[in-house]
Subunit: 344 residues, 2 copies
DNA sequence: TGTTAGCACTCAGTTATTGCGAGTGCTAAT
DNA sequence: ATTAGCACTCGCAATAACTGAGTGCTAACA
């Protein structure tokens, strides 16, 4: 069902108004705001039609109308367009990225902060997943007694590490030897292909060393698969200023959501439509805690390979065009910055 | 001004009651609850006295009384005692610690979770500060181009790391060499005493290597000083169930507080009184965001040296005795667990 | 036939009024 | 010193009346 131009225009104005004010929009207010030169009565007729079509609802008889989820979807798909950000804002963002330190983690923090500042919603940023990348280098660092730190470095120069306890004590010398053995393997083999049989073929190891290597390998593989560790979020309290969040239960929902890093991570990286900017409105979200929110996400890449995701969580009456524009620009900046940081 | 036994008893019952119900306590209710066999009228007289002395206030004429901050302080200092936890709870906690993995970080997470579960308030745990400890071992790991990961290991086997960019490219071999040089220094010198002059005395380095070492040392020192990184908190939403937190502004305050890891860290480690369990009530807290809360903290040690802190944040009508008892027991468990993990 | 003015109607939210009840302070009797 | 009794206070819940922004419908109009 296609809407005629006037209906489309009216719907647009209602949505814009409601996004700004969070108040139901009435026909009189509307006729003043949009300069179509039509009277409240006419608008009422049109609004009644739009209600029949499922784009508007009345919270109660005798109040103005508010947009439905379907209306937001229509707005996002058919009406709004992703604008270019103002020059001043663009250069601000650009300079900000130049000033971040060379550490990847702080770039992520910075991104989250900028996002939440520019949008006034809650920002979430996923640090690069090492999962998809190959491991170039492993360092075993002796800690104390049988405990070691394993550092895994990918081809792109990203590092992750975990502490583990092994079955025997490991001193500096042994740690170095173990590192060398494993790095020897990695010259020819992917970490994920590293099997017990391969290890057993190497002769010049004592039984103890061989045993340790066998213990270490599964841990290394686990490091690469570990997902939830690096979720940065900011601006939680931004949302509290919006009237729909005066309810403590909604706040609880939001906090629970942000704390479930695993879920957040899956949700944001699962890009079925292959779109650059993905918008999920209200109940379009699978996650129960997100049913009352909208989330807009995007991804950043290195060498065409998806590395991570970032996005913004807000009320369903979110400022979709502004947020999309911001995400779009940040995405470019981030891609640029990351490839500077990691390119061979 | 000392209180006589009866006043003391009455004050105790009022505080206990108010902690449970968050409702002002009246004389009639009170006379039923405490079996001193005195009538409401007498109690009213005593309550009037207690009000004059500053221990009670009436939210409005003609309502019951609620304890003041002074009353809580009196209760904490003079009335309550730290009980031993029930056997069952004790063994539960103990088993929980045995089951945590060997990684320090997960022990901290576990501690926070247990604390918030047992108290129903918000728990905060500071991971060990490396600041006070000496560095035994440094590993420079080549990442990509001029970027390296620096891993610092203390004598006790705790590890910290940062990524930095150096002025020249560093490959695996160079990284190893740099590590060896620095570790050579550390055999005889504390990291904090490592100066440029010392470095210059070593002959067998190329000018480039020497330059890199000079760049690296300040970074290493900074790693040890970095404080805010490891603050674990849980149970934020626990507090939302208490009636005093139906106000969104208070929630905001709390969230801001928990996010300011630096502040939290300073506040919790600054132990002027040298007490095992430290209780700060309402405005006794220096931090503006904490003025409406109470916080109870304790510390854990290794070899008599303070390593970190943990504690609980809640309303001023906090269940002081229960929380103190829990902290007291967890402290012992944590000390035990950590020394098992790190003892040479 | 589409648009608009006019009018009766709806209903959330605010204000004013009232009554209730838990609590107090004071006084006089025990 | 303690307590029973009583008048008084005051927050709070319930009720009623009022307001105003908004609607749907009808009839008139271009």
């Amino acid at each position: 069902m296609e809407l005629n131009e006037r209906k489309k225009k009216i719907l647009e104005v209602i949505i814009r108004d409601y996004i700004n004010t969070a108040e139901p929009v009435g026909s009189r207010t509307l006729s003043k705001r949009c300069n179509l030169g039509i009277s409240p009565a006419t608008i009422r007729n049109e609004m009644a039609d739009l209600e029949d079509l499922g784009y508007l609802v009345q919270p109660h008889t005798s109040s103005g109308r508010i947009p439905t989820q379907k209306a937001y979807r229509y707005y996002v798909d058919e009406i709004m367009e992703i604008r270019k950000l103002e020059k001043m804002i663009r250069t601000d963002i650009h300079r900000g990225f130049l000033n971040t330190t060379t550490e990847l983690g702080s770039t992520m923090d910075h991104t989250a902060r900028v996002l939440s500042q520019l949008t006034n919603y809650t920002a979430v940023v996923l640090a690069p997943r090492v999962t998809n990348f190959n491991c170039r280098n492993v360092q075993i660092v002796s800690l104390i007694k049988n405990r070691v730190l394993m550092v895994v470095v990918t081809n792109e120069g990203m590092a992750k590490n975990i502490e583990v306890a092994l079955s025997q004590d490991v001193d500096n010398a042994l740690a170095l030897k173990l590192s060398n053995v494993i790095n020897g393997f990695l010259k020819n083999t992917n970490l994920s292909d590293l099997s017990s049989e391969l290890v057993d073929r190497i002769q010049e190891m004592t039984p103890e060393e061989s045993k340790l290597i066998h213990e270490i390998i599964p841990h290394l593989k686990k490091v690469l698969l570990d997902e939830d560790s690096e979720v940065h979020s900011t601006g939680l309290t931004n949302l509290f200023n919006y009237p729909e969040f005066s309810d403590v239960n909604k706040i609880k929902q939001l906090i629970n959501l942000v704390q479930e890093k695993q879920v957040l991570s899956e949700m944001m990286t699962n890009n079925n439509g292959n779109q650059v900017i993905r918008i999920k409105i209200g109940s379009e979200n699978d996650n129960e805690n997100l049913k009352d929110f909208s989330i807009i996400t995007s991804t950043y890449e290195l060498d065409g390979e998806m590395m991570g995701a970032f996005g913004v969580i807000g009320p369903t009456r979110m400022n979709y065009d502004n947020v999309s524009s911001v995400l779009n620009y940040i995405r470019n900046e981030l891609n640029l910055h990351i490839s500077n940081l990691l390119m061979k």
